[in-house]
């Protein structure tokens, strides 16, 4: 009950903040680019992709999962925790009848809700784009082709599970540092290193580097590692949430 109250309170704080605007506008980026691509290509779409629904993932959801989502999470964790720092409200939060654990968990859950919203919004908007293209070019006949919903749900579920690692690390750092540049800079650097691991250092073991996980989910070469990645992600998330919480509790008087 008290978690629900704290969670509601945390959500109310995000009203009219850049966290909300970023979620909505950020979710428009890939669908908008995709729409532009599909409307401007000169080749027939059927020739560009091996099966009709492929362009939902290729240069679509996969770009969101591997590139945009990690970047979004790095920005979002900073924006969410900055609500308290910028308004100087930490003392007010701690002098209200809420335990530190509930405040920590409430904030983390509100972050997760925004991440889920961002991902789902992307998934839905990409559908809208594809349907629009199908209206414009009915020869594609997408409506008569079956769509593998199970695969989509599985992919989205895996994405969310793997993303909790990066979001818990960034969450800890954003609570730790009053200066928002630090978690942002560290996060972007680690994300960049994660990309280099995937594209440049292919022989290196990446199962223990969470910032590469989402990209590994996109490439079929790493399909055999998905089980390990999910286990590692759960382990990392647990560890970083614990570290984050004890650090948050310890630093309470200093915020």
């Amino acid at each position: 009950m008290s978690l629900a109250i704290t969670f509601r309170s945390e959500l109310l704080k995000t009203k009219r903040t850049s966290a909300i605007y970023l979620t909505v506008l950020g979710a428009l980026i890939v669908p908008a680019i995709k729409l532009d691509e599909l409307l401007t290509v000169t080749e027939p779409l059927a020739k560009m992709y091996t099966y009709p629904w492929e362009f939902y993932y290729k240069n679509g959801l996969h770009i969101v999962m591997g590139l945009l989502l990690p970047f979004y999470m790095i920005l979002m964790t900073t924006l969410l925790t900055q609500i308290e720092y910028r308004n100087n409200t930490w003392k007010q939060v701690f002098s209200s009848p809420q335990s530190e654990f509930m405040v920590f968990l409430g904030k983390f859950l509100s972050l997760q809700l925004l991440i889920v919203s961002f991902l789902l919004l992307n998934a839905v908007l990409l559908f809208v784009v594809i349907l629009l293209v199908n209206v414009i070019d009915p020869q594609l006949g997408l409506m008569s082709q079956s769509f593998d919903w199970q695969h989509l749900i599985k992919t989205l579920g895996k994405t969310l599970l793997l993303s909790t690692t990066v979001s818990s690390i960034q969450f800890w750092m954003s609570l730790r540092f009053r200066n928002f540049i630090l978690p942002l800079a560290i996060g972007i650097t680690l994300w960049f290193v994660g990309l280099m691991f995937i594209f440049e250092y292919k022989t290196l073991s990446k199962e223990w580097f969470p910032y590469s996980y989402l990209m590994m989910l996109v490439f079929p070469d790493y399909a055999h590692l998905h089980g390990t990645l999910l286990l590692n992600a759960l382990l990392f998330t647990g560890v970083f949430l614990l570290i984050g919480f004890f650090d948050f509790k310890r630093r309470k008087g200093k915020v």
């Binding site: 509601r8 309170s9 009219r16 007010q92 002098s95 008087g253």
Partner: protein
Amino acid sequence: MMSNYVLQTKDLCYNYAKDVQTLFDINLQVPKGSIYGFIGPNGSGKTTTLSLLLGLMRMQKGSIRIFDKELKDDRINILKKIGALIENPSFYGHLTARENLEVYRNVYGVDKDRIEEVLQLVDLSDTGNKKARHFSLGMKQRLAIALALLPNPQLLILDEPTNGLDPNGIIELRELIKKLNQELHITIIISSHILAEVEKMVTHLGIIFKGKMLFQGTLHELHSFQHNQARLNLNTSDNAKAAKVLQAFSPEYTHESFSLAYSGMKQIAEINRTLMHNDIDVYLLQPKANNLEELFIDMTTRLS
């Protein structure tokens, strides 16, 4: 048995660094229904003490009892009955006054109607959709007080609430605090570094300086203390000799002149006579300004 004190601390100590102690054995006693002025210059330990009272910092030594319960044993339930404003007014600038209160409404478990009640109480009910960041400083301060009043508190802790307010704002706030105390019977702890600012509203006072309590009691007790502490400024042709012949009056050197303790006009005449009998010319013989502010400055400068 219920104590008469809403809040009591026992030997409260705190140090931010290993070798720098900030608070030394603070024993606060805040009677039920009082307006307790917690006075001290900047950096004397007021905010640290108040932060400890709200559990914002980990207690290192001593104990805190609020509503007859140990704070460390029942912090959440105790905080449900406390409204607080610590340092700057804190609220979410991107939200309206109502939205700010709505953020905490369920946390304190109060009805929606309470939001309108407290907004009316602090005269902010007509702010509509105006974002809190666009409020004037006085309005911001009132919003922070509205937030502190939201839980229907039995104890209100206000840390330097007059900071940055203009004289009108200070008068309004003073009236509001008196009203809350007299009409709603809320016990109020109000900290300030200016005695004159709180002198007109408090019933009890605690004076803290360099982390130590110098005085605690009613306003009346402070006046008695002030009377006992009355001093006379003196400057003569030979201050060293004068101090020697007036040893019975506890002479104390302050810069170029010195002061004596006295307890009535007759003693002033007696001091003058003694100086004349000893061939000492008197340049200045003046009772020190007789107000609480002087006493406060005296108390704190004597120890600095």
